[in-house]
Amino acid sequence: MARVFSKKRIIFWASVALSFVLLPLVFDGGFSLSMLSQMGIAIIFVLSYNMLLGQTGLLSFGHAVYFGLGAFVTAHIVNFIDQGSFWFPITFVPIVGGITGLLFALVLGFVTTRRAGTPFAMISLGIAEMVAASALMFTTFFGGEGGIVTNRTAGGVVAGISYGPQIQVFYLIAGWCLISMMGMYAITRTPLGRLANAVRDNPERVKFIGYNPVRVRWLMMTLSGFFAGVAGALATINYEIITAEALGLMASGNVVLMAFIGGINHFWGPIIGAVLVTLLQSALSTYTQAWLLYFGLFFLIIILYSPGGIANILAMHAPVIKARLFKSLASSYLIIFLASVPLIVGTIAVIEILYRGGAILGMSSLVSWSSSLVLIVVGLVVFRFAQRRVKSVWASLDLELRKRGFV
């Protein structure tokens, strides 16, 4: 029997754990801490989503259902603990959320995973809509518009931990994030995980190697529901309130965006997406109310220029750097960077002028309009030039890498 964990793997996970411990010490302050907590939750959620999308080829538009139901059940459990109906340590409450997500995914997945492709996407959308509608109808369980309020300190003080201070909640999230990451990574290494890839690539062929693709999808969906539920439970503990929004279509759409921005073809890709999107949402929204527009533009650009997401851009450069050929790209990238400055400034100016709407008429607006348009045009021209350059450099790089055996 080979060892279950190689030495390299242990060192890797230990350094992830260490960085989780150190992060709140580097980024202290209330705002950073709550953002880090939010990132941890988002990471679990998006990785669970990518078990479906990236690994099994199931494009779901209703993944927040499992997140949300896990969160609501957790909220009620925490409230029972608070009322003294029974006692259960808050530290392990995410398991309750996980089991909730798992059970719902088991039941709903039985229906949805019979089909893949577009029918699956549409059924998942239908179920999301249905659950979201029920959330507003069954107000005793979902709390109606106001949602369910909880108290995360319900479990009292255990070993000096009350979960009152945010830092304790952060470490709870970080701990579960680490466990979930390891768990989901491990799943990709099992026979089931590999078969999920086979089902993604070619479900028809899977039948002829002895497997039922529907069963593979269903199992992956169920497991994915577990981790989504864990994320939902952590959200309940973190925010101490959960509303029907958490299982709505917006939330389901958000996780799709995170996964695509990060890159669905790599295990780590969605994590990049979760971190970036959380950052954009919290940081941008404090600067401008038009942040959703910027977010949309950002998503559009990523999908247009790198359908494989940010992870793909990074992965593309790994062999280049290994072959010590990055120098040849550097100058073109510098030009792209320089071109994007006026482009971005001009675009922001136009959006903000339009959004604030106040200065549409008058001389000053004429100046700001024309100057921002000039910036955009200049940026675009330089950008096109640099883009062509990058393309030709890549073409020759590709040949070179192939010749040297790096690809």
Binding site: M1, A2, V4, A186, I187, R189, T190, P191, L192, G193, R194, L195, N197, A198, R200, D201, N202, E204, R205, V206, K207, F208, I209, G210, Y211, N212, R215, V216, L219, L223, N265
Partner: protein, 253 residues
């Protein structure tokens, strides 16, 4: 030759709507033999394969695999009973590595099913079988490549590798040399005879050279009916075959 029947088709029929494609095919394939099905385009050869492997349901008739009734079972259940097939149009897992393609194909037969609590790379039997198959199909230096990036001939070899990886003893190959050059075809024939040693092989093939090189017996399928079954020399001299199938040609060479 051992006369145990591996695969028995009795009065198999298939129609799509009002169009009848297979009109009562009965065929015994013996254990250990290499049996080829030939016939003009549209004769129903691929449909027959799809019926045997469970891709389509039968309209009537019965199929037995090693004495066990497999009529209208799901493809995965037929595969688990020990029948494995390849496809005329390459049917692999394009975004997985060659090694992963083969490894997945070995799993069920080695008893790992939907296993979630084993690390795949630590299962010795799976590793050994995968290494052995990859060696056999000659893709040893390609195993880390994505299957979708292989050349056509390599993909055809991988297709055969996936088919035999489960260790099934009845193998169905659907035009394994389709679209290959002469040299590639020769290599494929060698590969097929190597990998089907001590197995029962049923193949559809257009290339007569391949058929007469490989087959112990040949069945001729015309308009959904088998008009003759026999050894290559019997088929060569069969008047019915000459008339019906080779009418416009000089003869089988």
């Amino acid at each position: 030759m051992n006369q145990n029947v591996s695969l028995r088709l009795s009065e198999v029929r298939k129609s799509f709507g009002s169009t009848s494609i297979i009109n009562g095919v009965s065929l015994d394939v013996f254990e250990g033999e290499r049996h080829a099905i030939i016939g003009p385009n549209g004769a129903g050869k691929s449909t027959l394969f799809n019926l045997i492997s469970g891709r389509y349901g039968l309209s009537a008739g019965r199929i037995e695999l090693k004495g066990q009734d497999i009529t209208n079972l799901d493809p995965q259940n037929i595969n688990r009973s020990g029948l494995s097939r390849s496809f005329q149009i390459t049917n692999i897992f394009p975004k997985m590595s060659v090694y992963e393609n083969i490894r997945c194909a070995t799993l069920w037969s080695l008893g790992y099913r939907y296993s979630l609590f084993r690390r795949i790379s630590t299962i010795r039997s799976v590793r050994n079988r995968a290494d052995e198959i990859i060696e056999l199909i000659g893709l040893g230096d390609r195993e880390e490549k994505l299957a979708g990036e292989l050349t056509y001939a390599e993909q055809r070899a991988l297709e055969i590798g996936i088919t035999i990886a489960s260790g099934s003893d009845v193998i169905l190959l659907d035009e394994p040399t389709a679209g290959m050059s002469r040299a590639e075809t020769n290599a494929a024939v060698e590969l097929i005879s190597k990998v089907t040693r001590q197995k029962t092989l049923l193949m559809v093939e257009h290339d007569m050279g391949v058929v007469f090189d490989l087959a112990d017996r040949i069945s001729v399928l015309v308009y959904g009916e088998i008009i003759a079954t026999g050894s290559p020399s019997e088929i060569r001299s069969n008047q019915l075959v000459k008339d019906a199938y080779l009418g416009t040609q000089e003869g089988v060479h």
